[in-house]
Assembly symmetry: C2
Homo-oligomer: 75 residues x 2
């Protein structure tokens, strides 16, 4: 079982939990302030990106239902 | 060192790599088709959400620089 779980919420954020780090492009880590679970913005509207601040409410629609990506090309 | 790394790209997606699963609210896993690394949409514009399809290009601005969240309230 994977050690990190990312849950895609419908019409909202994604929840991250487990054994993970969040870094910027320079490789510097976001300090999560002791949180084990964080919500990451999926709608682009948060004023606290990459974290969710609830701004999606009523403004973002995406019914998240698991599906399969096409197989990775291995050429 | 955490087993999953999430990298927040400026003006774009977030890259996920390591030991993780992506699930919907029902707990069903997205089948990543053999990919070890995936890009997740941060702007809300992708037609393949939760995955990035490049739709952010020129339409989403967020300079991602690591910062510290306030300490988690422990009351």
């Amino acid at each position: 079982m994977p050690s990190t779980k990312i849950t895609i919420n419908s019409n909202g954020s994604m929840k991250v939990q487990g054994d993970y780090e969040i870094v910027d492009k320079e490789g510097n880590s976001y300090d999560l302030g002791g949180r084990e679970i964080v919500g990451i913005c999926r709608c682009g509207l948060s004023q606290n990106k990459p974290f969710c601040d609830g701004s999606h409410s009523g403004k973002f629609e995406h019914e998240a239902i698991a599906f399969a990506l096409p197989p990775k090309k291995t050429v």
